[in-house]
Amino acid sequence: MNKETYRKRVSGMLPAGFLILVMLPLLLLPLASVFIYALKGGLPKFASYLVTRDVLFALRFSVIIAFVTAGINTVLGTYAAYVLSKTRFPGREQLSIILSLPVAIPNVVVGTSLLLLWGPIGLFGQILGPLGIQPMFTAAGVLLAHIFVTFPYMLGTIKPVLDDLQTTYEEAAYTIGASRWQAFRYIIFPALKGGLLTGALLTFAHSLGEFGATVMVSGNLRLRTQTAPLYIFSQFEGGNIEAANSVAAILAVVSFILFSLILYFAGRTRIKEERR
């Protein structure tokens, strides 16, 4: 009897064991090497790499950009999802595809295209330049890149929820004289809460780790426009592998926490929906 359950348990764990075995060289060991290199010189050394002015600035700058990006894209993404889901107009499908493209375009291309639009030779750049406005290579440039790159995450989280939302409640609200805003505020918004949180966290996490577009538009200036991933890259290029990996380890831990939260909120939304 006991032997039987033991065997069942082992055979139940086999698929997971196989998965870990396959993922070991692909994902788990590379991740582990980040921590191994970060902690190579011991904990005090690890901490000393993290408390330099450059690192503290880079982490702060990354977090601020991620907060603002998440804030802006929560509003923009929700609005886009609402328009694409609840209104009908020609080209709606195509627009929805175009708005999801940033996940597929290489981020470097996003960076160069922003430079070509806002930079000194670009369309906007030529208009703004004489006015003394140059958004590229400033925090504003980094923000523009992050909004572009992370836009689809909010849209992608909210739109399916809106698509599945029964229209009956909304219609009922209209029949008793609710305005569009009231219907949104009291009917749609409560259903979206979980999705909003998930989408915002997802946007935040992606913004925190964004590299390809940022490296093109930030100018990579320490204490001015250097984000945490850019710091990691310059340190690694400069051969300071431990310093690079210390910051990378922090980002990895933060991402782990963020994605745990995302899973938690996504799970809760599902439970709520099933209860309804």
């Binding site: 430079l115 930079g119 000194p120 140059q134 290579f137 100018g219 200036l221 001015r224 250097q226 939260l261």
Partner: protein
């Protein structure tokens, strides 16, 4: 029972919610702390500098701190450097796109010329600076694995089949452009060189290039991580990493090699009127004896020959040459890099 469990659940949920929101609040406060009026100290004056990759430690760890001290003693003001370092070509592209650099230290005069062609600076202004804008030099050497297992003693040995070379990328790195001129020059400067010697040297070496990286610094990181048998780079980078505990390697001094000349460019349009004095003071300081001695300590060869005896680790080069020997960068770029390396060697390798 049911009510009990949901009570428990909600109490647990409440705790979680409090913990979570205080965590987020703490994160926000930590993030914006320096922006708050009481968290911020007085902002010092700044100099914004973009530099090619290997100049970084010399500037940020010795030359600039020395200037900081001097400026403090002279004026009582704090000054801080905001800097970014990458391959010389990458830096030049960033400057052309409009990064707010006040000073740039470029690996080659070629990149400086691109700045004047694009209108980033008003003409060839660096030529008006002391030594034509050159702040220091470094001969190009070959790094090999400990014990020199492949018996590499000169550039010509790099053309042997089976040698794996890591090389910086000529499209983004100044080091790569210097290396190409060094390889070419070492062949054509031999007394019995035939007219095709330069091209066949480049062809032989580039056939053996197994990996490229974007800057002199990045390519050394690649070499340090075990790629390749040989690396062609600045003597300074080799000496500097020797003294900073990198993986062991040996430096091979070729019979003939080029001395690179690193150029300072002042980006006048980015310097506001009230910063002019400070930037000019730093520019002057770079050619002062104090700064030049610091460059020598960091493994660069000074423009002032008599200071170079201070660094005992500098190797002997039988036949050093300069870019001037090939008619300057403009001509060398056209006749060697474009006509021979790009249009012939690369095409023969990858037709």
């Amino acid at each position: 029972m049911m009510a009990n469990s949901s009570l428990l659940c909600s109490r647990y949920g409440l705790l979680l919610r409090i913990a979570l929101s205080s965590l987020i609040l703490a994160l926000i406060i930590w993030t914006v702390w320096p922006l708050l009026p009481f968290g911020r100290s007085r902002r010092p004056q700044t100099i914004v500098l973009y530099g090619f990759s290997i100049i970084e430690p010399a500037i940020t760890k010795s030359v600039f701190p020395a200037f900081q001290k001097k400026w403090m003693a002279q004026t009582g003001q704090e000054v801080e450097m905001i800097a970014s370092f990458a391959g010389s070509g990458t830096v030049t592209n960033q400057l052309i796109m409009g990064v707010p650099a006040e000073l740039a230290i470029l690996s080659t005069g070629l990149d400086a010329a691109r700045l004047s062609e694009s209108g980033t600076i008003n003409g060839e202004t660096w030529k008006l600076l002391p030594y034509g804008g050159v702040i220091n030099r470094s001969p190009f050497v070959i790094l090999v694995r400990p014990g020199n297992p492949k018996k590499i003693h000169d550039f010509s040995d790099l053309t042997r089949p089976g040698i794996r070379i890591v090389h910086p990328d000529p499209f983004t790195s100044g080091a790569a452009n210097w290396a190409i001129i060094a390889e070419y020059g070492s062949a054509v400067r031999q007394p019995d060189a035939d007219p095709d010697a330069g091209r066949s040297m480049l062809l032989g070496i580039w056939r053996n290039v197994v990996a490229q990286a974007g800057s002199g610094r990045a390519v050394r990181t690649q070499f340090d991580n075990g790629f390749g048998d040989a690396l062609i780079t600045y003597e300074q980078d080799a000496l500097w990493s020797h003294s900073h505990g990198s993986a062991p390697f040996e430096i091979i001094y070729p019979h003939s090699t080029i001395l690179s000349e690193h150029t300072l460019v002042v980006i006048d349009r980015n310097i506001s009127e009230k910063r002019k004095e400070l930037v000019q003071a730093f520019v002057d300081f770079l050619w002062s004896e104090e700064a030049q001695r610091l460059f020598v300590e960091n493994g660069f060869r000074s423009v002032d020959e008599k200071l170079n005896s201070a660094n005992r680790s500098f190797g002997y080069i039988a036949d050093p040459f300069f870019i001037g020997d090939f008619g300057g960068w403009q001509q060398a770029k056209r006749t060697i890099i474009d006509e021979i390396w790009k249009n012939r060697v690369l095409k023969e390798l990858r037709p």
